[in-house]
Subunit: 148 residues, 2 copies
């Protein structure tokens, strides 16, 4: 999660909402892909940290099936990113702060435990280093309000 | 929906599951973006027809906010694509066949009417030319089984 937090800080440096993600190979422990939020600079609604990391991981592995991988993200995934986790068959999901506004892995609903979909991660753990992630976000939005 | 079906046929020609999507400007009626499923050829779990069309529309408009637009897709959106519709603030959603395996706009759940998220489309209409869309999919999978 420290590496995902590093990615979140990179997003912040680019004046993006600080959210970061990494994807790890469960067998070797290697980091396969990293991503940080790029929505504002790209003006692309899809460019969340998780999507960027999943696309990079697919490219690196050469397959849309990210079996034997885990995703670490600093904020609870939104429905789009939870759906991307289902679609790419990621097996472990670990996230930081909860997101009452869009969180779809425990807050508003939990798409990752919905057995009607054709994949559920084996392990889901929430609120890992949640305070560090939340503090990054709080400071970012405080700074924006201060500048207004 | 005919234009979305044309996109689905393009996917089929590339041996992809035939799903197609277009995004239209609600004011002018112009088609802003087109997309067809590219998951297999790109080996990228994100490359659904809707995501491709949304990314193109963001690029064309120069904004991640696709206000005053409508999306037409031949198959009911999965959770990832429903989430992308929420994230990009699309106002109208029109789809063809229902998808009992992943459909998240009426079949398994309906993410687009979940008022806890910060956006809901103004209009959602399902099963438009649903038989044409379903027939394309059925023929595609029949052909795959025949070849095995």
């Amino acid at each position: 999660m420290d590496l995902a937090l590093d990615e979140a800080k990179k997003a912040q440096e680019r004046k993006e909402v600080p959210i970061g993600c990494i994807i790890v190979n469960n067998v070797t422990g290697d980091v396969i892909a990293r991503g940080s939020n790029e929505r504002e600079e790209t003006q692309n609604a899809i460019k969340h940290a998780e999507i960027i990391a999943i696309e990079k991981a697919c490219s690196k592995i050469g397959s849309w099936r990210l079996e034997h991988t885990s995703l670490f993200v600093t904020l609870e995934p939104c429905p789009m990113c939870a759906g991307a986790i289902i679609n790419s068959r990621i097996e472990g999901v670990y996230y930081g702060a909860k997101d009452p506004k869009a969180g779809s892995v425990g807050s508003i609903n939990n798409l990752l435990t919905e057995t009607s979909y054709n994949h559920q991660p084996i392990e889901i753990i929430s609120e890992i280093k949640a305070e560090d992630s939340a503090k990054l976000l709080q400071n970012f939005f405080r700074e924006i309000r201060r500048k207004k």
